[in-house]
Point group: C2
């Protein structure tokens, strides 16, 4: 929105336009930043500035306030310009898929549009270009709730192509809703990684003062150029303030809060790394860069379901779904349990050739079907326990395993073999 | 198992039998406790004693060790004896439903049997009788994964009957797998509570050194006789060591670990109280004892399903289930989202008269269907967001609301009204 009233008059007198870097002299205080658009919910006597750290601040003005244009927006790189290339810098690829981070991140105009060009995404955080050359590409422009199983293979191929043509790392801006599913899929599909594959999202659109997009993108870039990590990770805020980011293993991460900036948590393991500015500290073992080339094993069979057990969950419900799929991941209660009736359904499904694997809806901890009679009956019925694997990861892995093999024994072997850290290593006590 | 070898010989010489209180003099050290059976996994030269705090310890013996019987098991209250009644003490009811806590808690014999009499359960923690008179009753003897929706009404009636006949509180030993669903159901079914209703479980059978059963039962009893709390709560360990318990509001609690003793967590709120020995500290607002009588609103309609959304969740899956039920609780991604296809299914279901309510699979945080176009489309399709209500609680509440009312508007009103703390109060910032 355009500015009106006193703010409008002051801006007009200074010749300042949205997107310009301006200085606001209010009393003794001088604040400089990029002039943001006026919002309905802002006070009419407040100017909103985007600070170099990505935060927005509001500066109250009065008739004595002085405004000065420091640089016009046209003087900065922007849409339409091509990305610079510096032979001394490493290449990092940014493959955008959509989501909040790619939809709203353009803080030069403050406009909210559903997708921006990859160049715009990069120019919105020009500090990235100090660290590396960026190869930017928009692969998808979708909200992550609309991500489909078939999108994962396309993304895996695009990632591998960038790494195999010299990028030292790949950043994947992604909607946060299903980012954990995508990171699991990439973890299984990509082999012999020569660099990190970093899924990055934001929980706040960057036209809001509290946006986390810029810090997350910067931290991801530091991880690409400043570490020997070569795994698929999710990188987001490590706490709700703008202090540091955590890189989580792609198979052990889950969105555990609907809105906090530190919504993503490593489950049953520590995060892989903490990134604070340019400082990277590793918190657990990790896989280092391979010689390559990166291999893609992207065959996946989407005919699977994930079923959460609960009291009142009807055997009919299980049977109906099991008839339509090749595999079922059960999120059982506690150690992985289901009711007697559902054990009957599992037995029927397994006899009909359906692969049934068991995880726990507790999320934390491991399944163990050897403690109680219920668990032993489930094993007798043909259900296969998956240790501490997350239900979501197990669901993705089962579809991938069914894409890789036909033989049930072969699928079982794949499911029970640790491929990308989906089983936590046993901790020393 | 019987003891053999050196331990067997020493015990025989002392005339000690399993269940007796004995003293073991090993060097300068003297340890006294209840003699436990020998386990396959114990060393043959170790005697296992149950200490008064409920822990088991292993004492290594040699040929110089002296053993002495302090009291025979027959001298202590046991099975078949009736519970004492002291006119000066308050009455607390124990209504057992089954689960680990009721199956294994008999530490006098160490035997693992599927269900014990209520008297046995009480006598296994004789300290309870120092605090109150116990009215003990076995209502169900089932593993909690076999709890059905119909069991909840029977339990609610039994609880109300005890409170309405003078019990100051009711303790409900329950399997932990589905204890959170039961606590939610009781929270909605019971009105004008005159005392606390405390669901208590254990994560370790009490023939193991680390059993949490005794401390949980004792803490629950303290809460009954030493507080004015009158809500349905889940009471379990507050941390993995035997330090204190937390009482969690019955509608805001979830089993978040498959095996830890502090598996239960309050979600989006603080626990109601911390119980450390006899000390009770309240951590949040709570409802105090009503005059009574306790009312039971136990009508419930089980024709509902809870569906977790994920990439690859097929519209067919939703449609198949929606055709068989009157209500669906969706555990959406992030702020409560589903894919475009599922929005179509929601629309169809709502048109067919199915009640569709939305929660978040993140568990922490609140749904908000006003931020993104997906959410707004879901509202237009007829889905109703449930704030920060847990998916499991929402599922139980929807069945209960459908039992209480026929009219969709009436059901909607019930669903959106805070009845038992299922919506977190807004926190001051």
């Amino acid at each position: 929105m355009k500015h009106t009233g006193l703010v409008g008059a002051l801006l007009e007198a200074a010749g300042a336009e949205i997107g310009d870097v301006i200085e606001v002299h209010a009393g003794k205080e001088v604040r400089a930043g990029i002039l943001m658009p006026h919002h309905d919910f802002s006070s009419p006597s407040v100017v909103t500035l985007k600070m170099p750290n990505g935060y927005n601040i509001g500066v109250r003005v009065n008739k004595d306030t002085k405004l000065k244009v420091v640089s016009k927006k046209e003087d900065r790189p922007s849409k339409g310009k091509s990305l610079p290339k510096d032979a001394d810098k490493k290449d990092v690829a940014v493959i955008s898929t959509g989501g909040t981070i790619a939809s709203y991140v353009d803080y030069r105009t403050g406009a909210v549009h559903p997708a921006i060009s990859a160049e715009e995404l990069v120019f919105s955080v020009p500090e990235l270009l100090d660290l590396c050359n960026i190869r930017a590409k928009v692969l998808y422009s979708i909200l992550s709730e609309n991500m489909r199983v078939s999108h994962w293979a396309g993304l895996a191929k695009a990632v591998a192509a960038e790494l195999n043509s010299g990028a030292v790392g790949v950043i994947v801006p992604h909607g946060t809703d299903t980012m954990g599913y995508t990171s699991a899929a990439l973890s299984f599909m990509l082999r012999s990684l020569t660099g990190p594959v970093i899924c990055v999202g934001s929980q706040r659109s960057s036209d809001r003062p509290s946006s986390d997009a810029i810090m997350n993108l910067l931290a991801a870039t530091h991880l690409c150029v400043g570490s020997d990590l070569a795994e698929v990770v999710v990188l987001m805020h490590g706490e709700s303030s703008d202090s540091y980011c955590h890189a989580h293993r792609g198979t052990k991460v889950r969105k555990m809060h609907s809105s906090r900036r530190d919504a993503f948590k490593s489950i049953n393991v520590d995060p892989i790394a903490k990134v604070e500015g340019a400082n990277i500290s590793f918190l657990s073992d990790y896989t280092r860069r391979a010689k390559g080339p990166v291999e893609v094993r992207d065959k996946i069979d989407g005919r699977a379901s994930m079923l959460h057990f609960y009291p009142g969950f009807e055997a009919d419900h299980f049977d109906l779904i099991a008839q339509h799929v090749r595999g079922v991941v059960v999120a059982g209660s506690g150690l992985g349990h289901v009711s007697e009736e559902i054990i009957g359904s599992i037995k029927k499904a397994v006899r009909a050739g359906v692969h049934v694997y068991v995880t726990t809806q507790c999320l934390y901890g491991s399944v163990n079907l050897n403690v109680y009679s219920t668990g032993r009956d489930m094993i007798a019925a043909g259900a296969i326990p998956l240790g501490d694997m997350l239900p979501e990861t197990a669901y993705v892995k089962l579809m991938w395993a069914m894409g890789q093999a036909e033989d049930p024994e072969e699928i079982r072997k794949i499911m029970l073999t640790d491929i990308a850290g989906e089983f936590a290593p046993r901790r020393p006590i």
